[in-house]
């Protein structure tokens, strides 16, 4: 009885973490859309004075940095999920199957 207790607490923690991780996976595209739609607020009218206009190099850098951040986040989340998979196989409410949206 008593030796089993810490194990179950440990598992609960893992599955809790795993579910929050899945929440992050679900929210990532929302974050991505927000960041990628940010350029809509940049001044871009052709009549803008040269000083106000965003330089192309800045725009390119911004887009690719955001892209890279999104990819890295997705990769990190995947790695964490991939390596906790099977640890809590007994968790009936496994996020990738259970929380159908």
């Amino acid at each position: 009885m008593k030796p089993a207790l810490p194990t179950s607490v440990f598992l609960e923690r893992r599955s809790y973490r795993r579910r929050r991780m899945m929440d992050a996976v679900r929210l990532l595209p929302v974050l991505g859309a927000m960041l990628l739609m940010l350029p809509l607020f940049w001044p871009s009218a052709p009549g803008t004075a040269d000083g106000d206009a965003i330089r192309m190099s800045t725009a390119v850098t911004y887009v690719f940095v955001v892209w890279l951040i999104l990819i890295c986040t997705a990769f990190a989340l995947w790695r964490m999920l991939w390596f906790t998979r099977g640890v809590d196989a007994s968790d009936a409410d496994a996020p990738e199957d259970g929380d159908a949206g």
Partner: protein, 893 residues
């Protein structure tokens, strides 16, 4: 590098791809193909999203519009990052339903409607045609870049485009339909595509690296050069930024070729989780050097050169022929992989949803199982479809003038296929989506797309007159193709996307809300929307009922005799069943299912096996047909049951009637024999005594008198008997006329007693209680008196007591007046009580000469008068009760 050597290199490259496909197929057939089903191959196969449009067009796009090109890759990136929302469900549904194409999936969702499948197929063919034209154009352009002096254009060269189209058609036919088999399609083509994905990525990165570090001299100088270029400031049409990102995301889900690699070729749902970040990496790398190449091209190339070809012309201008060759191969890879998968996906749709249904109908309803080699029909259908689709692409290329920028053509195509999105997403997330909604939405979206995007793309006076474009049909301003509903100033692409998808979605939702789906639609809807609750792994076979012979016959017709035998022999060997047919085990059936699916599509293969295997995996349609049939049978049997119950009732009634008739006939016979007996007895005695009187001499006076009085007595008895019979007959036939009069019971009894005692032996003592007899009656008093007289005479005749005595009393029972005749004779035996009221019934062993009609007459009279006569159960004596007619007594009170 000459055009000829380029063609030679291309052919060698194609041969190399063939070899890869061939060995991949061989390895898969030997069961060594595990590494080919890895997530990396899956991710690379998704790269057919990046076509020649990406390879050449993105640079041209960037040279014209700056960073806008990147929206085409940001949309798919967001879709992949959001795999959990849509793709996860789409892949699960596609696997659970064994979808062969997007048309298959949409039709399956909306009640397996073939009409919907045909509509989606036609829309896909028309929508993808510009895209295929785009590939033709890019290959033609790239060849032209090598052939002519730099900057010169071979845009209008129809001959080269024709040969390119022919070559691609041949390539696709050889690649995709060389043999009809699941394994080749899945591992061979996908493997070749993965290799092509690597080639085009390396080619583009090589050019990019050469441009950044070879020409510009590093990252910082490159960034400075970008800012100094004509596209050096951020100039963005905001509506296009949003609309194109959304459009590319929609097209990524809806393009038939993307559906093919994303859903149909998916082996393991977990691959999606890896592709979710790996494919965005690929897209990012493909986009990374686009702006630098465009900027350097704009700087280096003479004004007026085609920016779509910078990827080729920069290395050529710099004298890097090898790099230019690699770049050409990259573009060639992009074009060929897209064309192969797109035409294969479309050809599958055309042959499965248009050609095969027609052919099966022509062959008769059970054509697939009757005769002929289905394989050949499918192969011919696929090849014809491939030729047709490429032919359409070529025609589009010719008639659009080949002049539009690559990016514009691609966007038209994207807008066309994006029309599937409402029906697709509505189908997997909303159970209320109905077939009519999907049809209506698709149709309106398609019409708007053709009107506002496709036809205007042929240029002024191409498919639409310049006047129609400027003023609208018949001068109706709000119907102008590029300013619908009078909203002007929108970018034409944004205009087409917004209006087509808005109207599409609106009509889809409204039509779904007001129509009512069929049961099959509702079932399928539930299965799609709740796929995670309902589906586990793909369905398994329960091979109880299939016989190997049946499976063999079916497999021969589809796979061909040799191949089917090979498959069966191999399986038999594996099972250790050498020289015999294999057992239809689970594993074998699943393998057979896969083999057949590659030939005729997953759904038909599944259906055919399930027909033979039975029970395990019946489609909803089958179930409904069965349910319909059994409902009909049930109703029919209910009707039969009702009819047979009715028949049984009639038969029972007939039997009862028959019994009654038989009984009546017996009664009649008995009556006749009885009556002849009764008549004969007095006749015999009359005859004998009259003979004695006539023939005997010397009879004394005394004897003469005695004999004559006997004859007289009998002669009196005879007419009385006849009177009685007549009386009874009249009573029984109901012909009696009742002579109703009012009188007192007391008087009736008095008269009866007098008459009875006058005719009787006189030993009977009749006791009466006159106090109770003061009842006034209104009935036929003479008949009633007759009943009383009969009862009293009977008592006189048959009462065997030493001192015969009859108590006559009047009682009231249940409100009815009863006259009770209670004698002190021997009680009638219980078994004879029922008989005494019958005609000619006489108690055995009793003396007397009655005909046995008296009580029968009494009963008939009482029945006529509305009363009754019964015999009570008693220990001593007999107790007859005459129940007087109720209304008679009441009327008197």
């Amino acid at each position: 590098m000459s055009v000829n050597s380029l063609v030679a290199v291309s052919l060698a490259y194609v041969a190399f791809l063939f070899a890869i496909a061939f060995f991949a197929e061989r390895a898969a057939a030997r069961g060594q193909g595990g590494w080919m089903r890895s997530p990396w191959v899956y991710t690379l196969s998704l790269s057919i999203y990046c076509t020649a449009w990406t390879f050449y067009g993105a640079v041209g796009y960037a040279a014209r519009s700056g960073m806008e090109f990147v929206t085409i890759y940001l949309g798919p990136t967001l879709v992949m990052l959001g795999w959990w929302w849509v793709l996860r469900k789409l892949v699960r549904i596609g696997r659970a339903q064994r979808a062969t194409s997007i048309a298959d999936l949409i039709s399956a969702r909306y009640g397996k409607s073939n009409l919907l499948a045909i509509v989606v197929t036609l829309m896909a063919v028309i929508g993808v045609t510009p895209y295929i034209a785009l590939q033709l154009q890019s290959v033609t352009l790239s060849l032209g870049a090598f052939a002519g002096p730099p900057g010169s254009s071979t845009l209008g060269n129809p001959a080269s485009a024709f040969w390119v189209a022919g070559g691609l058609a041949l390539f696709t036919v050889l690649f995709g339909t060389r043999k009809l088999d699941a394994n080749e399609r899945h591992s061979g083509v996908v493997m070749a595509i993965a290799v092509e994905a690597v080639v085009k990525l390396i080619a583009l990165i090589a050019v990019g690296v050469f441009v950044v570090w070879g020409i510009a001299g590093g990252v910082q100088p490159m960034l400075a050069q970008i800012d100094a270029s004509p596209i050096g400031t951020w100039e963005m049409d905001r509506s296009r930024w949003v609309a194109l990102t959304a459009l590319s995301a929609a097209a990524f889900l809806c393009l038939p070729r993307m559906f093919q690699v994303l859903v149909v070729e998916n082996d393991d749902e977990r691959h999606l989780q890896i592709a979710a970040w790996a494919f965005p990496v690929y897209l990012m790398l493909m986009s990374l050097f686009v702006v630098p190449i465009a900027v350097v091209g704009l700087d280096l190339m003479p004004a007026g050169s085609n920016p779509d070809l910078f990827v080729l012309t920069i290395p050529l201008a710099e004298g890097r022929e090898g790099l230019a060759g690699l770049s050409f191969l990259g573009g060639f890879s992009s074009a060929t992989s897209m064309v192969i998968v797109a035409t294969l996906a479309l050809a599958t749709m055309v042959s499965n949803h248009v050609v095969m249904p027609v052919w099966l109908n022509v062959q008769g309803r059970d054509g697939a199982l009757v005769s002929g080699d289905v394989r050949n029909v499918v192969l011919v259908a696929r090849r014809a479809s491939i030729l047709m689709i490429l032919g359409l692409g070529y025609l589009y290329y010719r008639f659009s003038g080949g002049g539009a920028a690559l990016a514009a053509i691609g966007l038209i195509s994207f807008t066309g296929v994006a029309q599937f999105l409402p029906a697709l997403l509505g189908g997997i997330f909303w159970r209320g989506a109905s077939r009519w909604g999907a049809l209506a939405g698709l149709s309106i979206g398609f019409v708007v797309w053709v009107y506002a995007s496709l036809l205007p793309s042929f240029g002024p006076d191409g498919a639409m007159s310049a006047r129609l474009l400027a003023e609208g049909p018949w001068g109706i301003g709000w119907l102008r193709p590029q300013a619908l509903f009078g909203i002007e100033g929108l970018d034409p692409t944004v205009h087409a996307v917004v209006w087509s998808l808005t109207l599409n979605t609106t009509v889809f939702v409204i039509a779904s809300l007001i129509t009512f789906p069929t049961p099959l639609e509702r079932l399928q809807g539930a299965q799609f929307v709740n796929v995670f609750e309902l589906s586990g792994q793909p369905r398994e076979w329960h091979a109880a009922m299939a016989t190997s012979e049946d499976l063999m016959i079916m497999a021969q017709r589809i796979l061909g005799a040799d191949e089917a035998r090979a498959v069966f022999r191999e399986e038999a060997d594996r099972q250790g069943n050498f020289g015999h047919l294999p057992e239809p085990s689970q594993a074998f059936l699943q393998r057979l299912d896969r083999e057949l699916a590659g030939s005729v599509g997953a759904a038909p293969a599944h259906a055919m096996i399930s027909q033979l295997v039975g029970g395990a995996s019946v489609s909803v349609e089958d179930l409904m047909a069965v349910a319909d049939e059994s409902a009909q049978i049930l109703e029919y049997s209910n009707q039969l049951e009702a009819k047979s119950a009715e028949l049984a009732r009639t038969a029972g009634a007939l039997r009862a009637a028959n019994d009654k008739l038989t009984a009546l006939s017996v009664q009649k016979d008995a009556f006749l024999s009885q009556i002849s007996h009764e008549l004969r007895t007095p006749m015999t005695s009359i005859r004998s005594f009259s003979e004695i009187l006539r023939d005997t001499d010397g009879i004394g006076q005394m004897e003469k008198t005695k004999y004559a009085s006997i004859i007289h007595g009998e002669a009196i008895r005879l007419p009385r008997l006849l009177d009685d019979l007549l009386d009874l007959s009249v009573l029984e036939n109901g012909q009696v006329n009742l002579n109703v009069e009012t009188g007192k019971l007391e008087d009736v009894l008095e008269k009866a007693v007098v008459t009875a005692q006058a005719s009787g032996s006189g030993t009977l003592t009749i006791k009466r209680r006159r106090l109770n007899e003061a009842v006034t009656l209104s009935t036929d008093l003479a008949r009633l008196a007759q009943v009383f007289i009969n009862l009293m005479t009977n008592a006189g005749k048959y009462c065997d007591a030493d001192a015969p005595r009859l108590d006559v009393s009047v009682e009231t029972r249940d409100g009815a007046v009863c006259v009770v005749f209670f004698d002190n004779g021997t009680p009638i035996a219980p078994e004879q009580r029922d008989l005494i009221f019958e005609k000619f019934a006489r108690i055995d062993g009793t003396p007397g000469a009655g005909a046995g009609l008296g009580l029968a007459i009494c009963r008939e009279i009482m029945a006529r008068l509305g009363g009754d006569i019964t015999l009570d159960h008693t220990e001593t004596g007999n107790r007859f009760v005459v129940v007087l007619p109720q209304q008679a007594a009441l009327a008197a009170q």
